[in-house]
């Protein structure tokens, strides 16, 4: 054998049972410590990343304006700020809904998200239809599906009138599940 070789020397005798057991023990120690390290890192890491799944949407009523600001029979888009947004959300924390004053005392508020894939539906006042630009979903003015691929009606917000103001209950983006 070349004396300058950098190869590790081969053991000159077969390992004894004690040596084999010792190696197995060290293998287990290393794997165990590796698993422990992974767990120490994984718990906060995974917890941090999936935390949004467990964040409950705050139950809050948002004022959209004075009752008198809305004309009976008209459907209008009303922008509002998402109360659950983080401070650095900027304009992405803005949101909107479609609000119609049905009578002097009743309102209907629809989510703007098409129940097909969430694109923002538009209100066509003369056709009295909501239409989705993405895949052509169409809804009647009561939010029921008129045509196209949406599997269910437009989602409605809870609405109330409080101190002369129209308020809706904030909610998460409605997700259509299977």
């Amino acid at each position: 054998m070349n004396e300058n070789t950098t190869n590790h020397p081969s053991p000159c005798h077969p390992p004894t049972q004690a040596e084999i057991d010792r190696r197995r023990f060290f293998e287990k120690v290393c794997v165990g410590l590796g698993s422990l390290c992974s767990a120490i890192l994984a718990v906060p890491l995974v917890g941090f990343v999936i935390a949004p799944l467990f964040r409950k949407a705050p139950v809050m009523w948002i004022s959209l304006g004075k009752v008198a600001d809305f004309v009976v029979g008209k459907t209008v888009d009303v922008p509002f700020n998402d109360p659950s947004s983080l401070p650095w959300a900027g304009i992405s924390a803005r949101s909107a809904l479609w609000l119609r004053r049905e009578t002097e005392t009743s309102f209907i508020a629809f989510s703007v998200n098409c129940t097909h894939l969430g694109c923002p539906v538009r209100w066509l006042p003369d056709a009295e239809l909501f239409m989705c630009p993405c895949h052509g979903g169409v809804y009647y003015k009561d939010g029921s599906v008129a045509a196209g691929p949406p599997p269910r009606p437009l989602v409605r917000y809870a609405v109330r009138i409080e101190n002369g103001e129209v308020q809706v209950q904030a909610m998460a983006i409605p997700i259509t599940t299977s």
Partner: protein, 469 residues
């Protein structure tokens, strides 16, 4: 001087072991007749390098905050020196990467190169295709304009269809219950750290497998792969006729790669990056989100699948296609490699190209989407200046019928072309259809007055070939 440089190199090489490390890889023998068909894999890597380099450069100015990303992108595009070109390079580099991955896969499939012993070369390549498309989608979201923000919602809605876990996945994608501060930063982390790390790992593995099993020789009809003898035959072939990868095998890769970079650069300079849409304000409802071109075909799929199959197709089809691609070599890893003896392989590639191409054209035209910008019909089309036909034509526009129906190339394509509807439907047929709707059309009976229906019908009845002016 030359002696000093050579001496310094030899010292460094001895201490670092560079030649020992990469020398065997560069000098490994490759088939002498591996020609231009073999350049797509290296071209994909060239595009990936362009993406890494331009992506790192963009990150010098890009701020991954929901409140600032849009402004930084506008700054990069309009104000930063070379910013517009850099964004263009990144965009067209992504496009090139998608195209080259596709071409590489098609070539490997047609040449039967996925067969023994290169099954895992194919499988790792399929995963790299998935990562590439994932990078394309997340990259579009980092533009953080109106389209990007709504695309996140669309992605969340799709994830929502996954059985049991759907709602959780959707909230995970949104980074909460709505679009907001946490949404963009998680896509930034996925686009810049997680998927690239996976890509580096799998490109390394893919290349290691290329070296381990060698570059497949061009197939010869009548010379099937026999797993028992293939390795020995390949070794003998390389020893007999192979030549070193560097430089005999590599020059074509360099020529094609250089051409690719020149094309990417020319497109970046003369066409530029995709336009930035409106700001990511979800309260602006005048939005028309569309994916970038490489996912436009899937956008069409989502519009065209029958609603009753939708939940299955939306989640099941990508899963089944992905699983099928992954196990292709396990299904058939021996036998003939030549495409002439595997005509079905040509059919599969052709069918895939035709299918994706057709869906792409449909996605581009989006005939299922209403035309919200439909202008009133000109008098030359209406054919009347007053009376029921004229009033009906105006109603046809006002009531948004024109958003969905075409009259003489004016209007939308969501519903049937009504240019000559008067030739095929009677008055009562037209009234029934307007009042009750049907097929993919809403019923207007509850919103139109009898006189409106009368005038609309008069207009539609006048749409006849004989009355065309």
């Amino acid at each position: 001087m030359k002696g000093i440089i050579i001496g310094a190199w030899n010292w460094l090489d001895d201490r670092l072991g560079i030649s020992e490390l990469i020398g065997p890889s560069l000098k490994h023998l490759v088939p002498r007749d591996a020609g231009w068909w073999y350049v797509f894999g290296s071209a994909t890597m060239v595009a990936f390098i362009v993406q890494v380099a331009t992506g790192v450069a963009l990150a010098f100015s890009y701020v991954s905050s929901s409140s600032q990303a849009y402004e930084t992108l506008v700054f990069i595009t309009n104000d930063a020196p070379f910013g517009r070109i850099l964004r263009g390079l990144h965009y067209f580099g992504a496009s090139a990467m998608v195209l080259m991955v596709g071409a590489h896969m098609a070539q490997v499939f047609l040449f039967g190169s996925y067969k023994f012993p290169r099954e895992m070369n194919w499988t790792t390549g399929v995963l790299l295709l998935g990562f590439t498309l994932g990078m394309g989608f997340t990259g579009q979201l980092l533009r953080w304009d109106q389209t990007a923000a709504w695309s996140v919602v669309v992605a969340a809605q799709q994830a929502g269809r996954v059985p049991v876990l759907g709602d959780w996945l959707a909230r995970f994608i949104l980074g909460g219950n709505t679009i907001g501060g946490a949404t963009l930063s998680r896509f930034f982390a996925i686009h810049v750290f997680i998927v690239p790390a996976l890509m580096f790992a799998f490109i390394g593995l893919h290349l290691m497998l290329v070296l381990r099993h060698g570059i497949s020789e061009p197939p010869t009809a009548g010379k099937p792969v026999n797993p028992k003898t293939y390795r020995k035959e390949y070794k003998e072939l390389m020893e007999k006729t192979g030549h070193p990868f560097w430089p005999e095998g590599a020059w074509r890769d360099f020529v094609f790669g250089t051409g690719l970079i020149i094309v990417i650069a020319l497109l970046a300079i003369f066409i530029g990056p995709p336009a930035i849409d409106k700001p990511p304000d979800p309260s602006i409802l005048d939005a028309d989100p569309r994916p970038d071109w490489y996912l436009l075909w899937y956008f069409a799929v989502l519009a065209l699948i029958p609603p009753q199959w939708e939940a299955y197709v939306m989640i099941g089809a990508p899963a089944v296609i992905g699983a099928l691609l992954l196990i292709v070599p396990m299904l058939h890893n021996k036998g003939e490699r030549a495409a002439s003896r595997r005509p079905w392989s040509i059919a599969v590639v052709l069918l895939s190209v035709i299918m994706i191409g057709s869906l792409w054209i449909e996605g581009y035209n989006s005939p299922w989407s209403p035309n919200f910008k439909a202008k009133p019909l000109p008098q030359s089309v209406i054919g009347a200046e007053s009376g029921p036909v004229f009033v009906g034509a105006n109603l046809f526009h006002k009531r948004a019928c024109l958003d969905c129906h075409l009259i003489d190339r004016y209007g939308g394509r969501r519903g049937p072309d009504l240019t000559y509807v008067g030739d095929r439907l009677s008055k009562s047929d037209i009234i029934i259809r307007i009042v009750n709707g049907g097929g993919n059309m809403p019923a207007f009976g509850g919103t139109l007055k009898p006189e409106d229906i009368e005038e609309l019908t008069a207009f539609l009845q006048s749409r006849k070939r004989s009355e065309k002016r």
